[in-house]
Structures are given as structure tokens and as C-alpha cells.
């Protein structure tokens, strides 16, 4: 028996390690380093109906134990994605979680429908701005977010997970999404931060603010996963500053059934595969399995 195997919403994954959306693009850059099928799954770069050019440079900057990014959702749009990437990824034997977003609920639904034949799971990025909700992210508005879920659920038969933001009323949004029929959750997305350049006196990022990720936010991820786990019985993909076996197990104890590696991949492109191998070594001489750890901090 494989102690790392995970069943997640009816899909079997050989291990719980996935890449975090936006930190692995569509996988192509790393395919020569290790077989992408060795990872639990690849979560691809957030994809929208049409190509988006993204934010002005600079787009990233380092912070204490973290980084800020304002990529501005750059992506080449679902058509190019379907043509260039998805069939290739499938042919490699990789399992794919497709991260989708749009301006309106029907945009999410449009992308979800298109990619469904290739996607193990559909992940909704609710941190993108809701253009009809005054530009505030969907993640700040339980009702608007629920509309997205309803639209997507009507457009695909793949399981749909919603990616939650640590900003806004996270648990309230989760509750509304459950009512709207969401199948699972992933969290956390980044928190908006800023760095100011002392020489120019101006924000460093072209977009001024950017999303904070990396080890700095891990304690927030653990807390939010822990709280969400107490409030739902839908499965959770956890993320936020994960690199080591210890980090992954900490998120599992909090309640994450799978874990994503994001920023760590920039520091070390082998980070996701090293985590798989590390977990294999960890469980090799143990009686218990990964799933025994999931939610363990709540037991008793």
C-alpha cells in the first residue's frame, strides 16, 4: 500500500503534493527536471477566457521570509491553454488541477467548461476582482462568490473547489459557497502588502500592492485551515509557505488533505519533488499514513 495515496473528491492522487497556481505556470519549464507525473498534481496558472497582459513591472519583490507579487493575472487565455498545454500535460501522465478566473460568473463557467475534459479538479480563484461588484475581489463578497460557484457547477461535471483568501470574511464566504454547492476548498491565497523604495520614495511594485506569500504567511495558513476544517466536512488543499515535510505535516494536522508548494519552487525548482520524496521517506518506516495525519490537531 502506498502511504501517500490520497482520494480527493473521488479522484485518486498518488501523493498529496500539488503545485500552487501561478508558481509552476503550466509545468513546461520544469518537465526536464523530473517527471511531472511524480507529483500529486499540477495546479496550472490562473486562466481566463481571453489573454491578459498583466501588471506593469516590477512585479515581484522580496520581503522578510516572503515575497510580494503583482503579476496581474497575466495568462494566455483558455484557447491557447487548451491548444498548447493541457493535451501535452495529459500525455505526460500528469494530473491537472485547473485554476480558473474571470470577470463575471459566466467567465469562470466558460473556462471551466472548456477545460473539463482535461481537469481532475477545477479550482476557482476568487481573489480576482469582481468587476460588477465595484472591483472588490469575489472573496470579499459571499453572495457574489456563491454566484460564481453556481455558474461553474452548472457548466462542468468535474469537482469544483474554491480558493479562499485570508482577507475578507473567509469562513463566511466558505459557508456561502457550501450552500451554493462547492465540493471543496483550497487556501490560502496571498495577502495584499506593499514595499516602498527609499530611493524613489515610491511603492516598488508597478501595481503598488502585491500578494504576500512564502514562509511568512504559514502561521496564517495553519490557523485558517484549522478553522475551516472545524466548519466544513469538504476536503481542503492547504498552501502558504510550505517547503519541508514538517511544513506539509503541520498543514495536514490542521486539516489539509492535500498541500500545495508555491513560493518555495522559486527558491528551489526541485521543491515539489523533494517534498514528495521526503514524505515517502518519512512514511517508509511508519505504520500510519498521510491520511492519518489529516485533521489530527482536532482529535480527542
Amino acid at each position: 500500500m502506498n502511504p501517500l495515496e490520497v482520494e480527493f473528491l473521488g479522484v485518486r492522487f498518488p501523493n498529496p503534493v500539488v503545485t500552487a497556481s501561478g508558481t509552476f505556470n503550466y509545468g513546461r519549464e520544469y518537465a526536464h527536471l523530473y517527471p511531472l507525473s511524480r507529483l500529486g498534481a499540477i495546479t496550472t496558472k490562473g486562466t481566463s477566457p481571453r489573454p491578459i497582459a498583466g501588471a506593469p513591472p516590477p512585479r515581484i519583490t522580496e520581503t522578510p521570509a516572503g515575497m510580494l507579487n503583482a503579476i496581474g493575472l497575466e495568462n494566455k487565455g483558455v484557447e491557447a491553454y487548451l491548444q498548447d498545454e493541457l493535451p501535452w500535460l495529459k500525455a505526460l501522465g500528469a494530473r491537472v488541477i485547473v485554476n480558473v478566473f474571470g470577470e463575471r460568473p459566466q467567465d469562470f463557467a466558460y473556462v471551466a467548461a472548456k477545460v473539463s475534459p482535461y481537469a481532475e479538479l477545477i479550482e476557482l480563484n476568487l481573489s480576482c476582482p469582481n468587476v460588477h461588484g465595484g472591483g472588490l475581489p469575489y472573496a470579499h463578497d459571499p453572495r457574489a462568490a456563491a454566484e460564481v460557484v453556481r455558474a461553474v457547477k452548472g457548466a462542468t461535471d468535474r469537482p469544483v473547489i474554491a480558493k479562499l483568501s485570508p482577507e475578507g470574511p473567509t469562513l463566511e464566504v466558505a459557508e456561502a459557497l457550501e450552500a451554493a454547492g462547492v465540493d471543496g476548498f483550497s487556501l490560502i491565497n496571498t495577502l495584499r502588502g506593499m514595499r516602498i523604495d527609499l530611493e524613489t520614495g515610491r511603492p516598488i511594485l508597478g501595481h503598488r500592492t502585491g500578494g504576500l506569500s512564502g514562509p511568512a504567511i504559514r502561521p496564517l495558513a495553519v490557523r485558517l485551515i484549522y478553522e475551516l476544517y472545524q466548519n466544513t466536512d469538504r476536503p481542503i488543499i492547504g498552501m502558504g509557505g510550505v517547503r519541508t515535510v514538517e511544513d506539509a505535516l503541520e498543514l495536514a494536522l490542521a486539516g489539509a488533505r492535500m498541500v500545495a508548494v508555491g513560493t518555495a519552487t522559486f527558491a528551489d525548482p526541485y521543491a515539489p519533488i523533494k517534498l514528495v520524496e521526503g514524505l515517502e521517506r518519512f512514511f517508509a518506516d511508519r505504520e500510519d499514513t498521510w491520511l492519518d495525519w489529516v485533521g489530527g490537531a482536532h482529535a480527542g
Binding site: 505556470n25 513546461r28 496558472k45 513591472p57 507579487n69 522559486f266 528551489d268 525548482p269 526541485y270
Partner: protein, 253 residues
């Protein structure tokens, strides 16, 4: 050419003066792979993100000109010989080979990739002229490394405290001749000026752009720059671009 991988380097020599430094690494697995103008993405201990650096190659070694700007580069300048580091390499596109004579204009740490190019071309029998500019004599200790390239080298400083007084781009109209190819790496203003001179003489010109990078390999999309041909990513489409494609005024200072 082998695709990029994560390589081991050992710092073996370091010369630091003020906020500038020359660092030599033993990097036998990178050196043979790195084409002039390509770069490495260097893991500096204690920091989360890697830092892009364009070194010169000296047989099995890499030579890096470094300017301490922020935390990463400043820390790099304090590392002791023996320190083991990691670097993704080789990254980026590198310079195209010129037909005839190559005229190189460098400013600051732009000397790194151009030293690499100069050595590479001289070895292949090209005539190479290298004009290096600096504000003052703070980079005078770069001189022996640049002279050893075999190129014909001239130094310029704004205050005249080292080499000729003035900017290398002021000398450029008198240096460039038909058939030359221009390569400029340094501050944007310098590259723009140099490219302007080449354009008026209808000569091909290449520059190397900088961008804040996370991955260095094309996955994070952090290094986007607008160009005449649309948005490009410095780490994979560059860092070397034909000068006429670059929109200099849009770049951050």
C-alpha cells in the same frame, strides 16, 4: 546545449571595494554551458528568492562583478571563500555573434556579461573594442580583469578620476564604423544613448535588460517588459534584445 539545472558553485576569491566587488566562483559544471549574455539565478544564503547575475567565464570559473544594491547583493559581498552556493544555469538567450568587429559598451556590473563576450570573441579571432564607463574610480579595480580579455579596452569616468573624462557613449561616434556590431550592458540611460548612436549609423545593436525576477526560468511571469514586439519575459525571451525592440522610457529606473 544542456538545459538549465541547479548547479553547485564554490566561492574561491573575493575582492570588495566599497559597494562593488569581484567574486570568483569555481563552477566546473556551469562554465562550459554559459553562452555570453546568458545569466545564472543565484541562491544567496538566508534569502528566499534567488538573484539573477550575468557572470563572465574563465575556464572552469565564473567571474561576477557585483554592485551591492539591496539585501541580496550586499550579503553576497560578505560571503567568505569556501562558501558553497547554488545557481540555476544556464538561463536566458545570450548574445548573437557579430559578423565583423564588436564594440562593447559597459557600465557598472554590465562589465560581467561583456567581459564574457569579449573573451569569447577574441578567442574566435574577432576584433573587440570595450568601452567601460563609471562615475568615479570606484570601479578601477575592475580594470585588470577587463584588460585581460584581449580586447582593446578604454575606461571613462564622469569625474575623470580614472581613464578618460566623460561618458563612453561620447566616444562611441568616433569608435563605431560600418560593419561593427554594438553590445551595450549597463544603466538604461547608457544603453539607450549607445543604441541611439548605433541607430544613426545603421548598425546592429544589442542590449541586456534587467527585471525583478523570481523564478528566472519562465514560470512566474514576473519579468515582463513591454517591447516593440509586444510583452516579453526577460528571463526567457531575453535578457538580450535587439536595441530597436526595447522601449527604454518605459523601464523602471
Amino acid at each position: 546545449m544542456r538545459p538549465w539545472d541547479d548547479h553547485r558553485l564554490v566561492l574561491i576569491e573575493r575582492e570588495v571595494k566599497g559597494d562593488r566587488g569581484v567574486i570568483v566562483f569555481d563552477a566546473p559544471t556551469i562554465a562550459p554551458l554559459l553562452w555570453p549574455g546568458q545569466f545564472i539565478n543565484l541562491k544567496v544564503p538566508g534569502l528566499l528568492l534567488r538573484r539573477p547575475m550575468a557572470p563572465a567565464v574563465l575556464s572552469s570559473r565564473l567571474l561576477l562583478f557585483v554592485r551591492g544594491r539591496g539585501e541580496g547583493t550586499q550579503h553576497l559581498l560578505t560571503l567568505s571563500p569556501g562558501t558553497v552556493l547554488r545557481a540555476l544555469a544556464p538561463l536566458g538567450n545570450g548574445f548573437p555573434l557579430p559578423e565583423g568587429r564588436a564594440v562593447l559598451v559597459s557600465g557598472g556590473t554590465g562589465a560581467g556579461p561583456l567581459l564574457h563576450l569579449a573573451r569569447f570573441l577574441v578567442k574566435r579571432g574577432h576584433e573587440v573594442v570595450l568601452l567601460h564607463g563609471a562615475k568615479d574610480r570606484s570601479e578601477a579595480f575592475f580594470a585588470p580583469y577587463l584588460r585581460a580579455s584581449g580586447a582593446s579596452v578604454r575606461f571613462f569616468t564622469e569625474d575623470g578620476s580614472w581613464g578618460e573624462r566623460g561618458y563612453p557613449t561620447d566616444a562611441l561616434p568616433f569608435v563605431l564604423r560600418p560593419g561593427d556590431t554594438l553590445f551595450a550592458v549597463g544603466p538604461e540611460a547608457m544603453m539607450q544613448k549607445a543604441a541611439g548612436v548605433a541607430r544613426t549609423m545603421a548598425l546592429p545593436a544589442y542590449v541586456s535588460l534587467e527585471a525583478h525576477m523570481a523564478c528566472g526560468v519562465g514560470s512566474c511571469l514576473s519579468c515582463a517588459v513591454p517591447t516593440a514586439k509586444g510583452q516579453r519575459h526577460v528571463c526567457t525571451d531575453g535578457p538580450v534584445f535587439p536595441a530597436e525592440e526595447v522601449r527604454f522610457h518605459l523601464e523602471p529606473a
